[in-house]
């Protein structure tokens, strides 16, 4: 066991972790932040996406011990300060960017990371960025549309195919 200290959604936490404790286990089991989902546990699906020091990472493929000293954000930290949905979350709701919602936390975290690097992405850039996010329900079109809308671009001409 080793002690780790990190900031999670703005709050400092210190806990003892085992060498093989994954970030998904740390967030979900230790901190009870269950918004970070485990879809595949094999680094493929992106349902577990979080931000570590501002970078998108798969929480199922990082050890908690490696986040010692890091700034971590999860889906639970994405809403506005007053608790209302942020622009990306609201756009997912407005444009029907989810069905069962299982992949959605990872999609929202990926979208946030993309829009930070590229404020007005093209449709192709959005699709490319979502390469590591798998959705079994929506067929992706409305997810892409939601992200484009969240970037402030007009999506009224984009039909759901």
């Amino acid at each position: 066991m080793a002690e780790v200290t990190m900031t999670v959604n703005g709050k400092s936490v210190t806990k003892s972790v085992k060498g093989n404790t994954l970030m998904t286990e740390f967030l979900r089991d230790e901190l009870r932040l269950t918004g970070t989902h485990v879809g595949c546990d094999t680094s493929q699906c992106g349902a577990c996406n979080i931000h570590v020091n501002g970078n998108l990472v798969k929480a199922c493929t990082m050890f908690a011990g490696e986040a010692d000293g890091a700034e971590v954000s999860t889906i639970e930290g994405q809403a506005n300060a007053d608790g209302s949905l942020n622009v990306i979350q609201q756009a997912f709701q407005d444009h029907h960017g989810l069905q069962c919602g299982f992949c959605t936390p990872g999609m929202v975290m990926a979208a946030a990371s993309l829009l930070k690097q590229n404020a007005k992405p093209t449709e192709a850039e959005v699709r490319d960025y979502l390469e590591g996010n798998i959705c079994r329900c929506t067929g992706y079109h409305n997810i892409v549309k939601a992200i484009l809308a969240a970037s402030g671009q007009d999506v009224s001409g984009i039909a759901a195919e």
């Binding site: 080793a2 085992k18 060498g19 093989n20 994954l22 546990d41 094999t42 680094s43 493929q44 992106g46 996406n49 970078n55 998108l56 990472v57 798969k58 199922c60 493929t61 990082m62 050890f63 011990g65 490696e66 010692d68 990926a110 990371s113 993309l114 960025y129 390469e131 590591g132 996010n133």
Partner: protein
């Protein structure tokens, strides 16, 4: 996963001494090793994380024009920081896996692993790069020794990789869409003294140089130069994604595309 301890040294020297322990193993970005550990295909007693070692990170242009990349540098950092110096290499790094994989996976981890379908081995062999470890320097031509096999000794750490920068280079990857690795991919680099062509994803022996194409492209650096050439299907990987003959065919196609894309 079996249980193990993890240590996070902050210098190469401390990492080397930690790796001297019984059953110790290096942890780079974990993008290959963590899935392996989950499948219980490895049983280290202690993982020595390299991610806290600042001296192993970054992209640096040397006085002689070579580009040195720290062994712990992520694919995302190479994609961003090598773009101005070695665009062919930056483009390859930016096409590995997906954004989250690129934010953790490292060049040292990729070269140490030497997956027969990985991208970096093609860039290192195709550029005639030098693999620098804590004890020595290894030419790429001597480094790759068959799939998942390299010249590295137990406990040896890739601290950096030095790339001579070519006049032009291109990488053409036929992506296996489920794994995002190369089904077959070719890296082509044109230097003043000749062209190098490295093929990944195809051979059962891992990355290899296609010398016939190198000769043809050295006298005429255009896709047409390799039009009449082919590689034998013997020894090519055959799996549910493609037969050996299919991969052998792709080698020619990807070589042409890599030449056409070279910048």
């Amino acid at each position: 996963m079996y249980s193990f301890d993890m240590v996070r040294p902050t210098s190469v020297a401390d990492a080397v001494s930690a790796l001297g322990q019984d059953e110790a193993q290096a942890l780079g970005g974990g993008q290959t090793l963590i899935p392996t550990l989950k499948q219980r295909l490895a049983m280290p007693s202690v993982l020595v994380s390299l991610s806290g070692i600042e001296e192993m990170k970054g992209v640096c242009r040397e006085d002689n024009g070579d580009l040195t990349i720290g062994g712990g540098t992520t694919h995302a950092t190479v994609a961003a920081e090598a773009a101005a110096h070695y665009p062919g290499l930056a483009k390859l790094a930016g096409g590995i896996g997906d954004p989250a994989v690129r934010n953790r996976g490292t060049i040292g981890g990729s070269l140490a692993n030497n997956d027969p379908s990985a991208c970096y081995p093609a860039a290192a062999l195709g550029s005639g790069a030098t693999i620098v470890t804590n004890t020595r320097e290894i030419a790429a031509d001597d480094y790759f020794q068959g799939m998942f096999t390299t010249a590295l000794e137990e406990g040896e750490i890739i601290t950096s990789v030095r790339f001579p920068v070519p006049e032009a280079a291109g990488y053409a990857k036929f992506e296996q869409p489920a794994s995002r690795f190369a089904l077959t991919a070719v890296y082509v680099a044109k230097y003043a003294d000749g062209v190098r062509v490295a093929v990944t994803g195809a051979s059962e022996n891992g990355v290899f140089r296609w010398t016939e194409a190198e000769q043809a492209l050295s006298s005429n650096f255009s896709p047409d130069a390799v039009a009449g050439l082919s590689v034998p299907a013997d020894g090519m990987i055959s799996d549910l994604h493609g037969t050996g003959a299919y991969r052998a065919h792709l080698v020619g196609v990807m070589t042409k595309r890599a030449v056409a894309a070279a910048s």
